[in-house]
Symmetry: C2
Subunit: 283 residues, 2 copies
């Protein structure tokens, strides 16, 4: 269960080829073959079928563990190295699309910050492994509850914003005239599932799958009637087309949180302070 072996294993599984994995990792085919053999010998189970190369059930199970494991390992290394490293000159901020709000816009102009837009699910990893100095994530949660984030590393989590939710409807939709909606009212509706932007409401059915982090395109699709989208009211109102109807009688709110690694110094620490200053939302 050497991490090197796990890394080779995940690479082989991802590329479905020993030789391609060898090229990517800078090994020879032979070494890759030996790595897999070592893992399989250690666990006394086949992990991959050859020809075609695909994970066995045991291999699939191991794959579920290997990703988070290697991530945590990178995070640990990055975190310790960060202690000794000089504070970054230019701060890189990982943001999920909907986490960009007034608070960030107000805090930004002060210094040279590079933004990096990532799906919410990837922001914690980006901060933990040192790719970015700070992160802003958003998601749906019960009011004043912190978001559920994958714990890749011990990160400092601070709430920075909470917004009520709204549904973005096409102009002609039967509910478009109403002052507010409940999720029950839309029980039969189809939603656009855009996992890189917003989690869909629990238990909803999917009309269309939308990949990528482009919010504008998503709103356009919703306005054109291809499916409903749940957005922070603040964002839904600014959509060029479509009608934003506030969501009532729900415990859910849209929440944004700042993620900071254990060590935050220099310009990154200053930005973190501006982002959280006077925030009414706790850890």
């Amino acid at each position: 269960m050497d991490p090197h072996l796990l890394r080779t294993f995940t690479t082989v599984a991802r590329l479905a080829s020993f030789s391609a994995a060898a090229r990517e990792l800078g090994y020879t085919q032979s070494a890759v073959s030996q790595h897999i053999a070592a893992l399989e010998g250690d666990l006394r189970t086949d992990l991959l079928t050859r020809r075609p190369v695909a994970p066995t059930p045991a291999g699939a199970r191991l794959l579920e563990h290997a990703g988070p494991l290697l991530l945590r390992l990178d995070a640990a290394r990055a975190d310790v190295l960060r202690l000794a490293a000089a504070p970054p000159g230019r701060v890189t901020l990982a943001v999920s699309p909907l986490s960009v709000g007034p608070r960030l816009l107000a805090a930004l102009p002060a210094s040279g910050v590079a933004l990096r837009v990532l799906p919410a699910a990837e922001v914690p990893a980006a901060v933990a492994t040192g790719g970015c100095d700070l992160g802003l994530v958003d998601g749906l949660a019960a009011a004043s509850d912190p978001l559920r984030l994958p714990d890749v590393a011990p990160l400092t989590v601070t709430g920075v914003a909470e917004d009520p939710l709204a549904v973005l409807l096409p102009a002609g939709h039967p509910c478009a005239e109403r002052a507010e909606l409940r999720l029950d009212d839309l029980a039969d509706a189809r939603w656009i599932h855009a996992p890189d932007i917003v989690a869909p409401p629990p238990g909803s059915r999917t009309a269309l799958r939308y990949r990528g982090t482009d919010l504008h395109g998503l709103c356009a699709l919703a306005a054109a009637g291809h499916g409903l989208v749940l957005l922070p009211l603040r964002v839904a109102r600014t959509a060029a087309a479509g009608v934003a109807v506030p969501l009532a009688a729900t415990r859910l709110v849209h929440r944004s949180e700042l993620l900071a690694p254990g060590t935050t110094t220099g310009a990154a620490a200053a930005l973190a302070l501006r982002l959280t200053a006077g925030s009414p939302y706790g850890t």
Copy 2:
């Protein structure tokens, strides 16, 4: 960042001694010294002070990562091995003290089950690393919200019970006659902090620290006026002494959840079914 090196590092840090760690791990002092040197060389930072042996700041940081990391590694190995292993003859169920409720008592008699009482924080690890076949954890959460559990491994989590909360007061307490209480009413009160049994209410101050999983002793202390305790109403009512007053106007409930590893077979699967059958509480 070889796991072996991390393991000796954590052992040395825990025992504050190279030689003691060597004895525990079955190495020579020399090997331990080389392990630490290898880690320090790899990260280009001192991790431990010698004489006395104690973690440096960087070392302390690494320690925070090392524990969860090694746990996940064990969990991965155990999970894959469990796929091939024969279903256990006797099921071992890890339970946190307050997770033992009517549902478990009803499901138990059917077969030979061994119970293992652990602090709630250790139950997920016990299930993930294969020490136990199933786990029951409890904790405080917003109504119908799942508990926040450390994700040591991808476990199947199923809610099995929710209970209203109560405060256990000594007989003469000013609030003891009231029909119900709010947490605000007790803002100045001191609580017994028993981390292995119940999380204290958020923001409370501690009168006494109580270690161990013995519920009876905790109730006795509370009844004797050494501090308040927050318990599921069901449990508080059965306390031999003391007065149980229901907690009102809170989002918090006491919740129990069943943890199952990815692979659950035989008698363990049957028990899991009985425990969750007809449960109104979701994932």
